[in-house]
Symmetry: C2
Subunit: 201 residues, 2 copies
Amino acid sequence: MEPTTEEKILEAAREVFMNKGFAAARMQEIADRAEINKGLLHYYYRSKNKLFRAVFDEAFAKFSAGINQVFEAEIPLFEKIEQFVDRYISLLMQNPAMPAFVISELNQKGDAFAEELLSRQTRPNPMPLVAQIQQEIAAGRIKPVNPIGLVLNMLSLCVFPILARPMFQGIMEVSRPVYDQMMEARKQEVAEFIISAIRKA
Amino acid sequence: MEPTTEEKILEAAREVFMNKGFAAARMQEIADRAEINKGLLHYYYRSKNKLFRAVFDEAFAKFSAGINQVFEAEIPLFEKIEQFVDRYISLLMQNPAMPAFVISELNQKGDAFAEELLSRQTRPNPMPLVAQIQQEIAAGRIKPVNPIGLVLNMLSLCVFPILARPMFQGIMEVSRPVYDQMMEARKQEVAEFIISAIRKA
DNA sequence: GTCTATAGGTAGATAGAC
DNA sequence: GTCTATCTACCTATAGAC
């Protein structure tokens, strides 16, 4: 089935906003990619800001849903870590521009924007995982680490390599296929790294 | 001593470019912050692009020098990890906008820009640390991990929490002072986390 | 709904007086 | 070196025909 005009606009806006950021994005380029004209863009979304919000909100909700799905799974901690790393790196590799997009817009638009955005329904909620980590510590099954710190470590290890891809490729002088291959191997390595760090001696 | 006009310009440009990014930065705002007028800005730096490059190159060189200093230190691996985490988190906390700035510009301007930029003299060189890790593995003193992956993990754990500060604060509902305090505590925690992960059982 | 044309505003860059 | 004034280009947004 043919995509509707609105779908074509959103798809085009996603690509342009995510790759260039809000300020550098051009309504003309979005119109061109959607194969319509600028006037029609404003007919559907009255302003650049409104179109941006539509794209950003969707990306943020997708990001949140993907992450919460694993946070909430009712499985043992070590399995959950493995699943989290595997699924989350896969999700990020499928949308490699998303993390840099979300991070830089949140940084640029100031804390007011971040606050407003994070007050919505669909947002990351690490509490189930935090609680699970606390239980494991209380039961003496893993080392006594800061639970929030551990969740932050898991996220850092998955997201940063995607954010830093251009820098990493430049410094290490590796081609894109080799980079992709390394990320694939990292799924296993990162899970082992985290589990080794918290497993009781 | 009074700062020269050029110093005032660079200082103002740093603040504006780092917080807003290239596209959203305005020459007018830079002029205002430097307490001069737009015309004079163009007298010193003929274009916005040239001014941006001056700021970016300086930030990138500073970033690289700080990191290389620890990569090259001739001390035992576990000590080096502790020093790296401590110093690098401190450096980042003193320039909290720098990582997001460098990362997003490298992502937005495409791989050509990244390639060109990374071909300069002062750039991050993790090879001394990679070699040291390989030696430790060969000597059987740490677990056999991917050396490049380990360096990437160290960087991820230090940089990502700074990049994600607005998101982290929003999700965890913590104030700025509490966030700063958590980052301070992380210096110790992250070093222990990494060492636990690679120490032989 | 979709197009063309254009209004209205703003930003980077230049000219020229002092 | 520093200023004011202005040019030129571009971009968002609107008006109006079809």
